[in-house]
């Protein structure tokens, strides 16, 4: 592959041609892998979703029947609601707490390095482990939080709404520090002298935050929100471990996975997964459109 370029390194025309060829060569393995493993299954899922199944046995083409069955299923809508509730509440809380953390860390000189190391700890922990950890802390036995808060045998995980609260809380614990890290990086790109002149002009701390920090931080905020939102829409690990989907915490990812593992029906499962795919990627695309073309280009440093 390199030899072709080696023979004519200095002939301008051939060199740019071989560079373009090299670029194709370099891109091919990644693009092929992603297309084969990510794109192809989605198309295949769409095909599967058009066929009717009895258990694992195909019963022939059914058109959109699986979809009508899916969207008239109450379980599907309660999964949609659970996913959206989880996404909106967890992303909102993570953003506010993460921004708070980032502002605190930006001000501190001493201890910033240690704190930044600590902030990586929740990120590096497998979500399944944080789920188990917080499951036990919320659980009636040993009842750690109940003891700290002095509220007896409150059953956080055993009733609607509070079960979702516990799951959202766990996600916020794990991810708010990560959001802080992204926002801190954004904060550090804002030049100091802007604040200096604002101060000279008599702007209060709140005015400086609202009129300078927030608008200048906008790109970092949008990127953090994009990846957090898409990630939250895919939530699976936390409710799977903490409640197994009981008490209105079954999310879309759980629903699809169960149709494959517990209720083997490839047709309906594929219809659910196609709908989930459209929802998640749709939200992602809306975000990216909002961020604009520069974002797509800058993500890859090009």
């Amino acid at each position: 592959m390199a030899s072709e370029a080696a023979r004519a390194p200095r002939v301008e025309g051939r060199r740019s041609l071989s560079n373009a060829a090299l670029a194709k060569l370099f891109l091919t393995p990644s693009v092929a892998w992603m297309a084969l493993v990510a794109l192809f299954p989605v198309l295949y899922a769409f095909v599967l979703s058009l066929y009717l199944y009895q258990g694992r046995l195909s019963e022939g083409f059914g058109g959109l029947e699986n979809y009508t069955e899916a969207i008239t299923d109450d379980r599907f809508w309660s999964a949609v609601i659970a996913t959206l509730v989880f996404t909106v509440t967890s992303v909102a809380a993570e953003f506010m707490i993460g921004l708070g953390f980032a502002l605190i860390m930006r001000q501190a000189f001493r201890g910033r390095g240690v704190t930044r190391a600590a902030i990586l700890v929740p990120w590096v922990i497998p979500t399944v482990i944080s789920a188990q950890m917080w499951f036990f802390m919320f659980n009636v036995t040993p009842g750690f939080w109940n003891d700290v808060l002095g509220i007896g045998d409150f059953n956080w995980l055993g009733q609607p709404n509070w079960a979702m609260f516990a799951i959202v809380f766990t996600d916020v614990w794990k991810t708010a520090p990560f959001v802080a890290l992204l926002l801190l990086a954004g904060l550090q790109t804002i030049p100091e002298d802007i604040y200096e002149s604002a101060r000279v002009d008599g702007a209060t701390a709140w005015q400086r935050f609202w009129n300078l920090t927030l608008p200048l931080l906008r790109p970092a905020i949008l990127v953090a929100l994009l990846f957090r939102t898409v990630d939250a829409l895919r939530v699976f690990d936390l409710p799977q471990v903490m409640t197994q989907g009981a008490f209105g915490t079954e999310t879309l990812s759980m629903l699809v996975q169960r149709f494959v593992v517990q209720t083997p029906n490839p047709g309906t499962g594929a219809a659910f997964s196609t709908l989930t795919f459209i929802l998640v990627l749709g939200v992602g695309v809306i975000f990216v459109r909002f961020l604009g073309r520069e974002f797509v280009e800058s993500t890859a440093g090009g």
Binding site: P41, I104, L184
Partner: protein
Amino acid sequence: MGEQQAAIVERRPPIQRIGKALMLMLIFIWCLFPFFWLISTSLKLGNEALNSPDLFHGPFGLQNYKSVIEQDFGFNLRNSAIIAGTTTVFCIAIGALAAYALARLPIKRKILVLAGVLAVSLFPPVALVPPMYEVWRTLGLLNTYPGLYIPYTAFTLPLTIFILSTFFASIPKDLEEAARIDGATAFQAFWKVILPLAAPGVFAAAIITFVAAWNEFLLASTFAPRDKAVQTVTVAIAAFTGSVQFERPIGTITAACVIVTIPMIILTLIFQRRIVAGLTTGGVKG
């Protein structure tokens, strides 16, 4: 809250300095406190201590760790290490090429390629579950290592590409051009000049890729749920669940969590700077 560093240069009253230290402490406690609970619980022995909310309610001992090891947790650790390691090698090997092409080489319709890579990073992995389960069943890839590292590589590639191309783009073009003037081909320039300079970035990308693959649960629990020869750490930890919710063996689970957590925390602390650089320049979730 909207204060900034310039203000710190002025002398500040001690109360404000103490206030700042306290707020840093808050972040610190937020991040680390649950591990204190985890370690304390994993060391407790007997039902009475394990069911007590008191962190210091003994007796303490290493019994829980012994029972974790007796349950062949070592197999799970090995499986996760092999699967995450293979994913990392594949991602870095083919991701580095793509990242270099994106950062330096002329690409037709580059925006399309970038949009495609971005789309995969926004992709819900669960969309893969029904079709891939059927395909893997046919190909006999359920309960195998490739059955997991093949999809992991696809899903982690975008992240690897983003991080690496940012690092490649940050290396001065002059160095490369000097090499090209000396007669090096584009490939040699990449291999001999760019790659060594990007080593820290490659390393950061490798750690982040490894962590992402190590922590994966959805596909692992679907494609290799029970077979001890393939089951990963995350699936094993979730599967300690008893038949009734509150019958989960708390001692064993917390001990297993500590075993997995400690090496990862050490890894994080050692490579803290590189990980932060990788996560923030890539701008993408790990």
